[in-house]
């Protein structure tokens, strides 16, 4: 028993080294004094962090990425929440079909989604960059909202809603003051997943960004094609710190288990 445990433990340790190690390498390299990015680095400096925080292109791209991610998630919530509620609350023909439709954007490869959006939506209706990005990222977010909210509504006892109604509350009031508070943790985890997913997305944005308007992952990708200095390592480390912060926040409030 002990011996088998040992072998399994070794494999697990190696796998985690493989998963996390590269991220630590980046973090370590971001403090190196050398001009070229290398690991192990030499010396210790925070200059690369100073530099990345003064680079307009990165700051603007990060702002845009965050705004699009939040706005797209909000729109997806407005479109998805009522539908998820209807699917759980009412019985009607074609229910499964509607559910599949709301989950379907996740089945289409992002690179294809970006391409067809560009060809048949952006060019067709002559859309500007920001609305096209918003529409595309909303499509990405709808399945997250649908999946998580549907499963938390499945655990909700609709008898409570009936009770509120029979006691004289209006439907709308009941929805906002009785149903919504009961599924708020589901909604919160759906939103977090959707924001992270949208913020990190590359394939869709690669097709939809325009001249002068860039999303952060795209900006980073085009930067590393020509430069290989610790600036990107510093930026990556900042992003990882943010990710860690979000994860700690989730763990404190919802519990990480509810998100994955």
């Amino acid at each position: 028993m002990r011996k088998k445990n040992g072998a399994l433990m070794c494999v697990t340790a190696l796998v985690y080294f493989f998963l996390i190690g590269p991220l630590l390498v980046i973090a370590a390299a971001s403090f190196s004094e050398t001009k070229a990015l290398k690991f192990p680095g030499e010396g210790f400096t925070l200059d690369w962090y100073k530099q990345v925080l003064t680079m307009r292109s990165f700051i603007d791209a990060a702002k845009l990425s965050l705004i699009i991610a939040l706005a797209a998630t909000a729109i997806a919530l407005v479109l998805g929440l009522p539908a998820a509620y209807a699917l759980n609350r009412f019985s009607f023909k074609g229910k499964e079909g509607i559910k599949t439709l709301f989950l379907s954007p996740v089945l289409i490869p992002c690179i294809v989604l970006g391409f067809i959006m560009l060809r048949y939506v952006v060019n067709q209706y002559d859309l500007a960059v920001i609305p096209s990005l918003l529409i595309g990222h909303t499509l990405l977010s709808i399945p997250y909202v649908m999946r998580v909210v549907t499963s938390s509504l499945a655990n909700f006892d609709f008898a409570v809603e009936e009770a509120a109604c029979s006691l004289g509350a209006t439907r709308l009031y009941t929805f906002f003051c009785v149903v919504l508070p009961n599924i708020k943790s589901g909604i919160a985890s759906a939103c977090i997943m959707s924001v992270i997913n949208s913020f990190n997305n590359v394939a869709l944005s690669a097709f939809l960004t325009g001249p002068g308007v860039n999303m952060l992952p795209i900006e980073i990708m085009s930067y590393v094609e020509y430069h290989f200095d610790p600036t990107i390592a510093a930026l990556a480390t900042l992003l990882m710190a943010a990710t860690l912060g979000v994860m700690l926040l989730i763990e404190k409030t919802l519990g990480l288990q509810s998100v994955v």
Partner: protein, 276 residues
């Protein structure tokens, strides 16, 4: 009353349904239609032309080969890891969090980290030269090797998490009972634990395979000009060569292959384990 209820659900699903239909479904149909009507009349000519092209054949086979290889590696590495975390680890919460962390980290950052590690002056090459295994730094980047490494690191967490999900449901009493009835530890593993965890293995494999088939960032950053895959090919045709007809055909092939293989996987799982 019934009439009123009917109208409510319609009102609730209508906005989302319209949004997805207008911005995704109709474009998707247009994509398929135009790929079959290259010159106003129905024909398979674009597809025949594409599949006759040696460059496409290589790309197509490379996509499938790398995705299968990465799926296999994820299964081989993920299975013992998930088993250890689910059955033996005392720090399960921490281990799960450490698996989730890379998943939440941008694929750009994760691919970039391999560019640092596997580069000409990266730590791996330094070690190879220092140890005397090779006289000079090797080409570890921008080839199928670096792409596979990137894919496995990108999708391994998903495999581990889907396996832990099913393994947690396998009661320890079952393996104990098998032991009491005379099964060896290896026997109880193969006859009890493995069959009960196949569904997680299949779910994980579908996630990893479709992930690899459709990933764009990793092959773009870690692959080279002569190791393109379907997703980078779509981008190349559409944005660099401005050949939208070819891009459409490749896109349709990509969707078809991804869906075909996913349904194949789940059919296999039903055959092995009809209960799950």
């Amino acid at each position: 009353m019934k009439q009123k209820k009917n109208r409510i659900w319609l009102l609730l699903i209508l906005p989302g349904t319209l949004f997805i239909t207008v911005f995704m479904l109709i474009p998707l149909f247009s994509l398929c239609l135009t790929s079959f009507f290259p010159d106003q009349s129905f024909s398979f000519s674009s597809y025949l032309k594409l599949f006759g092209d040696v460059y496409f054949q290589q790309t197509f086979l490379r996509s499938i080969r790398l995705s299968l290889l990465s799926t296999l590696l994820c299964a081989l590495l993920g299975y013992p890891t998930a088993y250890y975390i689910s059955k033996h680890s005392r720090h399960k919460g921490v281990m799960m969090a450490l698996a989730v962390f890379p998943m939440f980290t941008s694929p750009v950052v994760r691919s970039f980290s391999w560019m640092v590690i596997l580069g000409k002056r990266g730590i791996v090459n330094n070690f190879l030269v220092w140890s005397g295994l090779f006289a000079k730094p090797q080409d570890l980047l921008y080839n199928e090797f670096s792409m596979t490494v990137g894919f496995v690191q990108l999708f391994l967490p998903q495999m581990i998490l889907s396996l832990i999900g099913v393994m947690d449901n396998i009661s320890d009493d079952l393996t104990l009972a098998a032991g009491n009835l005379g099964a060896t530890r290896l026997g109880s593993f193969f006859h009890v634990v493995l069959p009960l965890s196949v569904s997680g293995l299949v779910t994980g494999s579908v996630l990893v395979f479709t992930g690899c088939m459709t990933a764009y960032t990793t092959p773009q950053l870690l692959g080279g000009a002569d190791t393109r895959v379907l997703s980078t090919m779509v981008y190349q045709y559409a944005m660099s060569l401005r050949d939208w007809t070819q891009a459409s055909v490749v896109a349709v092939v990509m969707i078809a292959v991804t869906m075909l293989i996913s349904s194949l996987f789940s059919r296999i799982s039903r055959k092995i384990n009809p209960v799950a």
